[in-house]
Symmetry: C2
Subunit: 323 residues, 2 copies
Amino acid sequence: MTIKEIAQLAGVSSAAVSRYLNGGYVSEEKKQQIRKVIEKTGYRPSIQARILRTKHSRLIGVVVPKISSESISRITDGIGQVLGQRNYHMLLATTDNQPLKELEYMEIFQNYPVDGIILIATILTKKHRKFLKESKIPIVVIGQHTQDASCIFHDDYRAAKELASRLAGKSRGKIAYLAVTREDLAAGASREDGLNAGLQQAGKSLGTDCRAEASFTIESGFEKTCELLKKYSDIDIIFCATDTIAAGALEAILKHFPERREKITVAGFGDNQFLKAVTGGIPTVHFGYKTSGIKGAELITDMLEQDQNIPIQMKLGYELRNI
Amino acid sequence: MTIKEIAQLAGVSSAAVSRYLNGGYVSEEKKQQIRKVIEKTGYRPSIQARILRTKHSRLIGVVVPKISSESISRITDGIGQVLGQRNYHMLLATTDNQPLKELEYMEIFQNYPVDGIILIATILTKKHRKFLKESKIPIVVIGQHTQDASCIFHDDYRAAKELASRLAGKSRGKIAYLAVTREDLAAGASREDGLNAGLQQAGKSLGTDCRAEASFTIESGFEKTCELLKKYSDIDIIFCATDTIAAGALEAILKHFPERREKITVAGFGDNQFLKAVTGGIPTVHFGYKTSGIKGAELITDMLEQDQNIPIQMKLGYELRNI
DNA sequence: TTGTACGCGTTATCAG
DNA sequence: CTGATAACGCGTACAA
C-alpha cells in the first residue's frame, strides 16, 4: 500500500492524502473519502520514506553494553519515561560489552537514521572520541566523563572514597578489592582510585596481592574470591567494583568458606535490588541511575528542539546504603 | 555526504560507486579512486535510502516487555548470537509490560522498516493476533503459544506440575502460591494449572485463601508474602510464579518473619543466577531461554531467506534445579 | 482548497 | 566494464 494507491482509490491526488495525514488543507468531503479508504485498506504510511524527506524520525537510539543489568535498566527506564512524554520513541542496541560493536550500532543508528543517540558508555576509545566529535546528530554519553560530547556521569571517585573510609575502620585483617579494568574510567579507574584514597584516609591500605581484576559477572566475582580467600585467611573486607561481582563474592563465601561468613564484609556499588532483597542489603553505593536516564533524555531532546549545541557536562551525586 | 558527491570527487558515476560498495563490476583503477575519496571523506551510505530501494535492511526488531529481567536477557543473548553469525543486526524495543506498546513498536518496526520481528510475548490480545496474522513481514513469537504465527515456548504446565508434585510431599502445613495474571497464558495460567495438577497428584492442594496475585516485581512478591504470612502461621511452602517474585518472598521472610525462615520453602521459576548465587539456590525451574532465543533467530532468518511460510510451533523442555 | 512536479539517497536496468 | 536514468514512497513548493 502506497500513498498513490490510496489516492487513486479515493479519487484524489497523493498530495491530498499526504495533507490529510499531516493536517493540511483538505475539504470535509475528501476527508471522508480518504478516511474510508484508509480504514478499509489498513494503510500505514512508510515512516521510512517519510524520514528520507523530512530528515527526522522522532526516534532516539540508545546503545547499551548489555541488558542483563539492573543499573542499565534503571537508566533506560528514565530515558523511556521522558521520551514517552515528549513524543519520541526509543530503540535499543546491545553490544555485549564490546566497544567495537558500540561504534557499529552508532553508525547504524546514524544512517538508519535516528534523531539522536544516547550512549551508555564503558570504554571510550580513540575511535569513539572521533565519532563523538564528528557526529552529525546529537549524542549524549551516560556513565562516563568526556569532553567530546554532552555527558552525564556519577561521582564514582568520591563515592568509593567515602565508602572505603567509613568501612575501613572496622577492619582488623586484610582488605581486598575486586576491580574491573581501568580502561573503564568510571567503574574501573575512578572507583579504584577513590577506594585507595579512602583507605589511606582511614590509615589503611589494600592487603598485598589483594587486588584482583574481575569482569562484570557473578562467575568472575566467584572465582576471584575463591582465589583470594584460599590465599589469605585474614581477609575481612572485600570491596567489589559492582554489586554483581559482590554477588559472586557472596556465593564463594557461602559455598566454600561458610565458616568465615560472619567475619567478612562484602561491599559493592550499584544498590542492586535483588541483592538487597535476599541478603538484607550489603554496604553499597546508590547512584541516581534513573535520574541520569531522565537527564540524558531531557538533554538530547532539548538539543534536538532548540539547537542547543553547547556541550554540557553533568556530574550526579550518590548515597551510601546499608552502612 | 551522498553517493553523488563521492562520485563527483572520484570522477566517476554514482552507479560505479554503488557497484564498488556492493561488489559489482568496477575496474581496478576506478576502485582506487573511489576508495581514496571514501576514506578521506568518511562517507557512509544511507542505509535508509538503500532500504527504500532494496526493501530489506538486514535488521531484526525484537520487542520485549522489559529489560531488567534475566530470562529476557538470556533470550536476547541467544538471538544476538545467531543474528551476528548470519550477518543481521538486532534492534530492541521495550514496552514496560504494556501490551499496547508492543503493538506500537511492532508497527514502528514494520514501517521503519526491519526485515522481521521477534516478539517476546506476555499477553496476546485480539489486536495482537490480528497484527500477527496480517503482518507483511515474518514474526516469531517467543514465550507464548499461538496459532497466529511461528512460536517457541516453554512447557510451563508440565514444569509446574513436576515441581509441585515433588515438593508437596515435604509439606505438613499450608501451601501458598504467588501467581501472576492468568491473562499471561504461559507464566500465569499454565504454571498455575500445572501447579494445581501437581499438588493434586501428590494428594495435596493449595491452602484456602493462600493464592495471591503478584506483578512481576520483587516489591510485589514482598508485599503479598507479608500478607500471607501474617494471616497464616502454618504456611510451609510458597510457590512463586517467577524467581523475581520469589526474591521478594525471601525478603519478606528475612525481614519480618526471620524465626520462620527454616520452616518455609520458597520455590520459583526461571533459575535466576543472582538468586542462586546469594541463596545457594532455591527450588526452581530452568527453562532453555537462551535456546529459545537461538531457535527464534534461526527460525526468522530461515523464513526470510527461504520464504518458508509454514508456521512452526516449537515447545521446549525444562529442568528442575535445587530440589 | 487542490493537483503537478520535484527531490530525498540509493540501487537496478539498460544501452553503450 | 561504464554511465544515464528510472524507480522506491513520501512531503511540499508552486501554480492553478
